[in-house]
Symmetry: C2
Subunit: 365 residues, 2 copies
C-alpha cells in the first residue's frame, strides 16, 4: 500500500500529456492503461501506443511504494474535472482511492504484469540540444514526408548526425525538404523516425514548453530526455529500419536563374491562383521578368494571373504544382527560388540563409 499527495495542477497537466499518447481503444488492451508507480518520492506515470512511450516523473510526498495499471479513459476523465490544490491518492490491492476537496473516488485497477517495458535507451552518450532547435528542424521538413501506404520508409523524417551538425530530411519521392542545424555532435549516426510518432513528440515538446532536450540512442529506439516547465519527462520513439534512398544527387548545385521575393506576397498570389488550377496537377505557370515574377494559371473554371514584385536574375519559364510550392515556402520574410532549368529541380530556401532547403521538380510543359 502507498499513500501520497500531489499538486493537482501538475497531475492534471501530466495526464493531459499522457492522453495524447494513450489510445482509448487498441488491439493491445494494455495500451489503454496508464502505468503508475510510486517510489522514492516520485510518482512515475507512463503511457504508450506501442510506437511512442512517454514517462513523466512527478515529485510527491509518498509513504510506501506501489504500482498499478489504471484505465486511461477513467483517469483522464476524472483528472479533467478535478479542482483544488492537492490530490490525495491511496493505492491498495486492486483499488486506487482518490480524494480532492469533498470529492472521493474509488477505482478498480489492474496488476502491472504484461505491461510493455519502457524501452528508453539507458546507456551511451546523450546529445543535448535546445528543444526549440529540434522542433524547428523536425517541424520544418515533416510536410514533405509521404502519406502513401505503399512505400513505408518515405513516411518518415530521417535524422542524420554528421559531426558538424544535425540534418532532418523528408521526401515523398516527388519533393524533398531538409533542415541543417549547426550543432557539433560527438558521433555519426542516421535514424529514421516515423512521421506520425514525430508529430506526437513535437506536440508534447510544445505542450510542456520544453527548454532543453537530450537525444539518446539504442538499437531501434530514439530517446528524448526533456526538461520541461513542470516536471522531467522521457520519450522513447520506435525507429524504422533502413534509411531514405540516397537523395544528394537530386539537389542541384548549379543554377541558371534565381528569384528573391517577399514570402507573404508570393504566398498570397499562389493561394488566390491555386483555386483556378486544374485539379490533377494544380499547374501554375511562372515567367521571370525584370523586377517581377509573373504567375498565371488556366483550367476549365477559368483563368487568372498576377505579378509579384521580385529581384530576378536570369530569364526562364517554368510550371509547378501550386500546393507543393506553397508547402515548400520557408518560414522567413523572403524566399529565394533558384532554378537549374525549365524542367530540372529547383531549390526553395529562406532569402537570408538558415538551414532550410526544399527541392521541387517543375511540371513538364
Amino acid at each position: 500500500m502507498v499513500r501520497l499527495e500531489i499538486d493537482q495542477k501538475s497531475l492534471k497537466k501530466a495526464l493531459a500529456l499522457l492522453k495524447t499518447v494513450v489510445p482509448s481503444k487498441s488491439s493491445n488492451p494494455l495500451h489503454t492503461y496508464v502505468y503508475l508507480e510510486a517510489k522514492d518520492g516520485t510518482l512515475s506515470l507512463r503511457g504508450t501506443n506501442g510506437e511512442v512511450d512517454l514517462e513523466l516523473s512527478l515529485p510527491v510526498q509518498a509513504d510506501g511504494e506501489g504500482e498499478a495499471l489504471v484505465p486511461g479513459e477513467v483517469l483522464f476523465g476524472l483528472s479533467e474535472g478535478t479542482s483544488g490544490e492537492r490530490v490525495a491518492l491511496q493505492l491498495e490491492e486492486a483499488r486506487l482511492h482518490l480524494g480532492a476537496k469533498t470529492f472521493r473516488a474509488d477505482l478498480r485497477v489492474a496488476p502491472t504484469g504484461g505491461y510493455p517495458e519502457f524501452v528508453f535507451p539507458k546507456e551511451g552518450e546523450g546529445i543535448p540540444l535546445p528543444a526549440e532547435a529540434f522542433s524547428r528542424g523536425a517541424a520544418g521538413v515533416q510536410y514533405a514526408a509521404s502519406r502513401e501506404e505503399y512505400y513505408p520508409i518515405l513516411r518518415s523524417v530521417q535524422l542524420e548526425l554528421k559531426g558538424e551538425g544535425l540534418r532532418f530530411v523528408a521526401t515523398d519521392g516527388y519533393r524533398l525538404a531538409l533542415y541543417d542545424l549547426a550543432h557539433p555532435v560527438p558521433f555519426k549516426k542516421t535514424v529514421v523516425i516515423p512521421v506520425l510518432s514525430l508529430g506526437k513528440v513535437l506536440y508534447i515538446l510544445d505542450s510542456v514548453e520544453a527548454k532543453e532536450v537530450a537525444l539518446r540512442f539504442a538499437p531501434g529506439v530514439l530517446g528524448l530526455e526533456v526538461a520541461g516547465e513542470a516536471f522531467p519527462m522521457r520519450v522513447a520513439v520506435r525507429l524504422m529500419e533502413g534509411t531514405l534512398p540516397n537523395y544528394e544527387h537530386a539537389i542541384p548545385k548549379e543554377f541558371a536563374a534565381q528569384v528573391l521575393v517577399e514570402t507573404q506576397a508570393l504566398k498570397g498570389a499562389l493561394e488566390r491562383l491555386e483555386v483556378l488550377t486544374d485539379k490533377e496537377n494544380r499547374r501554375l505557370n511562372f515567367v521571370l521578368g525584370e523586377g517581377y515574377l509573373h504567375v498565371s494559371t488556366k483550367s476549365e473554371s477559368g483563368e487568372g494571373k498576377e505579378e509579384v514584385p521580385a529581384q530576378v536574375e536570369g530569364a526562364l519559364e517554368f510550371s509547378v504544382n501550386a500546393h507543393y510550392l506553397l508547402e515548400a515556402l520557408p518560414k522567413a520574410e523572403r524566399a529565394l527560388i533558384r532554378l537549374s532549368g525549365p524542367v530540372s529541380p529547383m531549390v526553395v530556401a529562406p532569402g537570408d540563409g538558415g538551414g532550410y532547403r526544399a527541392v521541387l521538380v517543375p511540371l513538364r510543359v
Copy 2:
C-alpha cells in the same frame, strides 16, 4: 454587361457567410452555385442548401445590370485570398472578370435559369426583436431536440407566438427544454424549425453580430430580416409540417422538494462523477441533505461521491442521467431544481428567474 466596384472586406465577409450555407457537393448541382445579381446600386448574393436560403445585399458602384451563377467553391477560394481595398467585377456573357491590385481572374459562369426561387415571405407583418433575444431563446433549448431518424418532428425547435411573448420549445421525448421571451406579438402562430437549419441561422446571426431581427411568415417558411454590422441580410428557412406533441401536461406544477445550488459547483461535481457512471444510463444518485446535495455513482470502473453545498427544502432521494442533467443546467450563476417526487418529472431553472426551464424524468430505482 455590368461593371462594378465593391469593398473587398464586405465581399469577403459576405462570401464567408454564404459558404456556411452553399454545399460543396449536392444532389442538386444548382445548390453549389452562388447567385449573383447587380441592380440599382446593389449587388445581391444568394445561396441555398434547399433548406436555408441566404441573401446578402451589398451597396456597390454599378454601371448596368446583370445576373449569373458562379461556382461557389471557386468564388469562396478566390475571395479568401483577396487583399487590397477594392475589387472590380465585370460580368459578361458567360464570364466574370475579377480584379484586385495586380491580380486578375476570368471565371466561367452559368446562366441563372432553373436556380431555386428565393422563398422569403414578401407580405404580412414582421415581428421585430433584438437578435440577441432570438439567439438566446433558440440556442437555449436546441440541445433537447432529438438526433434520431425515426421521429422527424422531434428534430426541431418549435417557435410559439402567444400574444404576450414568444416561446421556444424542444424535446426528444425523454426531456424537454423551453424558453419564454416576454415580448408582445400582434398575432398567434406556431411554427416548427428543423434544428439543423436553426443551427445555421444562429451561426449566421452570431457571425454578423446582428443587432435586430424581424421575423416574417409565409406558408411553410420563416423569414428573418437581419440588420447586421456590414450589410442587410435576409434568411428564409423551410419549416416542418405539424407541431410538437402536446407537452404542457408533462410540466409539473407542484413540488415536494427543491434545491438551490451554484451552477458551476454542481457542474464540476457532475462532470467528475460522470466518468464513473455506467455507460448505459449514466446514473447519478442524489440525496437531499441539510445544506448540501449529496451526489454519488457506482459502476464496474469504481465508485465516487461528492457533497455540493446547497439550499435545500424537503427531503428526497432520486437518480438521474448525468449527461441529461449537465445539458439541462441553466446559463445562470445559480440553478434551481424542483422535484415533484422520486420518479416524477423535475424542473431545472435559473435560480434567479428568467425564461428558461428544463423538464427531466428521473431514472427508476
